[in-house]
């Protein structure tokens, strides 16, 4: 066809050519480039200097850090690494936490690796057997000596709160979203009330109420575990947000899909399970993961009601006179930020990959 002419093959641009095209294509662009370079220089260079070049890397106690006035105090993190991961969990019992971490890691990896088979079965095990096993291992029982929740802390408690919240909020959120779209006025009304109640209250308030007020309402002699009440609060809170995300997905599935499923004689639940929800969840996957990431970060609020989660452990270390150096607090927070970033960014990357894969599946 004569009308379609191939563009002339261009030489690969050299670095100078590339910079001219991308960084200095106009006066305005050139100014932006210069400003950006200055900004990067002024922030990144001092930070790298502080975090790496001028930092204390080895030694024991604050004396190791004091000479490095302009650098991070990594011995603090190294010495506290046990607490950062396990809190005050008994040394001799820490293998139990390791086993739980390992099981979680294997389960997640299995679910994420595209080539591994039996994803459904593994998923079911992760949602049924794993939580029970994790509970027994962490709390104790069945021959394992009990470890009181007061001794839990660090990454372990952060993950317990986050994973519980994530695992509980998705199914609860789906049920609430379905409830909100139900034709039964009572179900719909209750779902709306529940969702709007939780969405209208800040999580921190909810956590305070769970920690301090719930015990007041309990009948005499009945105490409720503080961690359990916090877990329930987080799960209910995030399920309300999840419900709204899922509702968006449900609305985006065409009316024809509901009708085709109904016309085949699939009842409400089977229509939802096999036809509507798979499409709806796919549509709102990015928002679901966004919610998970938000939840992951919100777990740090449990430190305010007295749990020594990652943030709590770092803060308690900052307050420790044995580690009083000008850089301890900063080091702790930078480390904390890095840990959260790695976890949240991984989630976001995985969601991206999954999205691309799902879109490839039903090439529309």
């Amino acid at each position: 066809m004569g009308a379609i002419r191939k563009p002339p093959r261009r030489q690969l641009p050299g670095p100078v050519q590339w910079m001219r095209e991308n960084l200095f294509s106009s006066l305005f662009n050139s100014i932006l480039t210069v400003v950006a370079i200055v900004l990067i220089y002024q922030t990144v260079v001092p930070f790298v200097g502080w975090a790496i070049v001028n930092a204390a890397w080895s030694g024991q106690g604050r004396e190791a850090c004091l000479p490095y006035a302009d650098g991070a105090c990594w011995p603090f993190i190294i010495e506290r690494s046990g607490q950062i991961v396990y809190g005050f969990y008994e040394q001799a019992e820490r293998w139990r936490v390791d086993v739980v971490f390992m099981l979680l890691g294997i389960g997640l990896a299995w679910l994420m690796m595209p080539r591994l088979p039996a994803k459904g079965a593994v998923g079911v095990v992760m949602l049924t057997v794993f939580p029970v096993a994790a509970f027994v291992l962490l709390v104790g029982g069945m021959g394992l000596p009990p470890v009181p929740v007061e001794r839990w802390g660090g990454l372990m408690i952060t993950l317990v709160v986050a994973v519980t919240g994530i695992v509980a909020s998705l199914p609860l959120g789906i049920l609430l979203a379905l409830g909100r779209r139900s034709e039964l006025p009572v179900v719909r009304g209750l779902s709306i009330a529940f969702i709007e109640l939780w969405r209208g209250v800040p999580l921190i308030t909810v956590l305070f109420m769970a920690a301090n007020m719930l015990p007041l309402f309990m009948p005499d002699g009945m105490t409720i575990n503080k961690l359990l009440s916090a877990l329930i609060a987080v799960a209910l809170f995030s399920s309300a947000y999840m419900a709204e995300v899922v509702r968006g997905g449900l609305q985006a599935v065409g009316k024809g899909q509901y009708e085709a499923a109904a016309a085949l004689g699939l009842g409400y639940w089977r229509s939802m399970l096999f036809v509507i929800l798979p499409q709806a969840l796919r549509l709102c996957l990015p928002n679901i993961v966004g919610n998970f990431i938000g939840l992951m970060k919100d777990t740090s609020l449990v430190s305010i009601i007295g749990f020594l989660d990652l943030l709590g452990i770092i803060q308690s270390g900052n307050a420790d006179a044995d580690w009083a150096t000008p850089n301890t607090a900063m080091t702790g927070y930078v480390f904390l930020g890095a840990v959260f970033w790695v976890i949240c960014y991984s989630m976001s990357r995985y969601a991206r990959a999954l999205e691309t894969k799902l879109q490839g599946g039903d090439a529309r």
Partner: protein, 250 residues
């Protein structure tokens, strides 16, 4: 009406009235369809054709009158409606295949989960019907990878896997490019030859002429005229039918 006469009817609609809020969409509609009959329903857009056939499988609820399908009356009761739907297949204008499932999965879903058929049997059954609509080779593709005509034939196969006694078609060729209409109509003709009871909303007058036993003409929510094709096209009684035919046959 005695029991034997009632049971010979696939669909029996008497005194059907339906409103959308205040809009009276179906006005005192009565229609009896004996088993194995092929009925074509036509009429201007908005005359209530879709609403009428959607009342037959309970996709729309009616306020007044009786709709009896294969001896079972649609009362609005959920379990009951579902039982009726399992006996009534429906093909939509927009195909409405499930885009996240393969063609084969589209066809095995209902047999497996409504008929409780083991997966192997459901797959064998689905392949049998995909062969009947001449696309077994597409079984493992997703609907989005098929042409409109192929999708509509899958939709027909999907409805047939439930082994329904009645098939409803709501303008099955209206969303198709002209070159694909033929393949879908041919599939429907083949289905008619098997003796399936069919109610077809369509503007394909060629199909109506050759396949229909009776043609129902609707206008403004009413059945205006019912006649066999020979009479309907050559000697329509009603002025509104004449006008409609004048427009559609040109």
């Amino acid at each position: 009406m005695n029991a034997t006469a009632g049971s010979a009817l696939a669909v029996e609609i008497t005194g059907l009235n339906k409103w959308f809020k205040t809009f009276h969409v179906l006005r005192d509609v009565s229609l009896s369809v004996p088993r194995k009959e092929r009925v074509v329903i036509c009429g201007p857009s908005g005359s209530g054709k879709s609403t009428l056939i959607r009342c037959i499988n309970g996709l729309e609820r009616h306020e007044e009158g009786r709709v009896v399908v294969e001896g079972a009356e649609l009362t609005g009761d959920e379990a009951h409606t579902q039982a009726v739907r399992a006996n009534v297949g429906m093909v939509f204008q927009q195909f409405n295949l499930f885009p996240h499932l393969t063609v084969l999965e589209n066809c095995t879903l209902a047999p497996q989960w409504v008929r409780k058929m083991p997966r192997k049997d459901a797959e064998a059954l689905a392949m049998q019907y995909l062969e009947r609509v001449h696309i077994p080779e597409q079984a493992l593709k997703y609907p989005g990878q098929l042409s409109g005509g192929q999708q509509q034939r899958v939709a027909i196969a999907r409805a047939l896997t439930m082994q329904p006694r009645i098939m409803l078609f709501d303008e099955p060729t209206s969303a198709l490019d002209p070159e694909m209409i033929k393949e879908v109509l041919e599939t429907m003709v083949e289905l008619a030859e098997t003796g399936m009871t069919m109610l077809v909303v369509t503007h394909e007058m060629g199909f109506a002429k050759t396949v229909a036993d009776r043609i129902v003409f609707m206008d403004a929510g009413e059945i205006v005229e019912i006649a066999p094709p020979s009479e309907f096209f050559t000697n329509p009684k009603n002025a509104r039918t004449k006008e409609f035919l004048g427009q559609i046959l040109r």
